[in-house]
Assembly symmetry: C2
Homo-oligomer: 227 residues x 2
DNA sequence: ATCGCAGAAGTTGTATACAAGTACACAGTC
DNA sequence: GACTGTGTACTTGTATACAACTTCTGCGAT
């Protein structure tokens, strides 16, 4: 699977290389332990080393590769790493939701409702890319609502990885039939209901349930998908 | 205050520029809203744009500046931002400590004890730089013990900022007399005792107390120090 | 005085060149 | 045969050059 090109319209070269390499690492096309050379990658992409260098730095800051003296080593995203990624997602989202408990969540509820509508539309159109995008948007909207610069920074640092993982898993989910897709939508509706209660305890439980369920989904769908 | 040069021995140019700029931003020498030009900074440091570019990318990923089309804009670290930074530190450390509750913390306790000894020594020698370094090492050791790649990644993404803030605050603390320094050491000893209990509830409370107290310290010392 | 337009200066993104250092293979020696 | 030294190919880090784009300035026309 390739990174959707429409998302890179007008973006600098370096960004495209970053996304492509990220996808290759997460999808498993580039295996952990493999070493990447700036020269080789630049040649592969037909560019100079400058944008490649940027990509390497970005991927390193995302924890997908490790910069060493000779060549960068692929770290990759195995089952364990994906679990850990979701630990952090839980941490971030849990924090965000707890933080806005008690505040007026009216506008947020409306926003999230609209996103769920778009997810349903994407499901109807059998458009996994759009679906994944809306899925990401859903969670991102919640996190943004926390209005916490550092939490936002944390999110940004894993956002692209989460997006890529979602792209891959959503493809898988779509291939498993409508029921599975409907299930994902339902999970988001439950999250929304949780927020609507405005009760910290309930929210805590809702978020916990959501991610507990995601672990199962991931282990069922991702690992076979990546051989 | 400048970044300790001994910490940059043999490091690439870009890293030095990153650290120097970071220090200037956090100390307030570079004020929020100011725009930085790669050319100007390169000229200031007497280097080419390449290492400066790297520094900009790093600082951007740390959330200290915002890359825009024309020039990078300084975001800075005001009181609110430091609070938020400590929110995340709490989140990370709390997670780490909870995670190893129940496991054998014996070796960790020994390690932390040694670090506290070094802190005491640094206090006796009136060496705030060494003290700050050991303070960082203390927390880093705890986080590393969680053995969680993503949490470690999160830590790495704020580590340098935390280090820099510590450098600045420790200078301040040292100038306020021995009692204050002893107080900081005592806080760490309490943290260590908390871990030693191996009781999640107690640990939770200990960590919370630690950071609650840190907020007070920060607001008393940092803000006047940075005018 | 105000608006519009050209141009100049400055900006980033990318390509290319070069220097310094590292790993590795291969030959020569003990 | 094992070991050491050397040379080579490849690596990163930095400097420099250039192109495309943006912003602002200043001049001229209205």
């Amino acid at each position: 699977m390739r990174y959707p090109e429409s998302w890179l319209r007008g973006a600098p070269l370096g960004e495209g290389i970053t996304c492509e390499l990220r996808m290759q690492i997460i999808s498993g096309a580039l295996k952990p332990g493999e070493t990447l050379s700036e020269n080789r990658i630049a040649a592969d992409f037909g560019t100079s080393r400058s944008p490649v260098r940027e990509a390497m730095k970005t991927l390193s800051s995302e924890g997908l590769i490790r910069l060493e003296r000779m060549g960068a080593v692929v770290i990759g995203l195995g089952e364990k790493e994906v679990d850990e990624l979701y630990d952090v997602r839980f941490l971030i989202e849990s924090f965000a939701q707890q933080r806005m408990a008690g505040l007026d969540t009216g506008p947020l509820i409306v926003q999230l409702g609209r996103i769920i509508d778009k997810m349903e539309l994407a499901a109807k159109h059998m458009d996994p890319i759009e679906f994944a995008y809306q899925d990401l948007a859903f969670h991102e909207t919640i996190i943004a609502e926390a209005k916490h610069s550092r939490i936002w920074q944390l999110w940004k640092s894993i956002r692209q990885i989460v997006m890529t993982v979602m792209l891959l898993t959503t493809e898988e989910v779509f291939s498993e039939g409508e029921a599975r897709v409907a299930g994902v939508i339902d999970k988001h509706r439950k999250l929304l209901n949780g927020i609507q209660t405005n009760d910290p305890k309930t929210i805590e439980r809702t978020v916990r349930d959501y991610f507990a369920d995601s672990y199962v989904t991931l282990h069922d769908s991702i690992s076979p998908a990546r051989g």
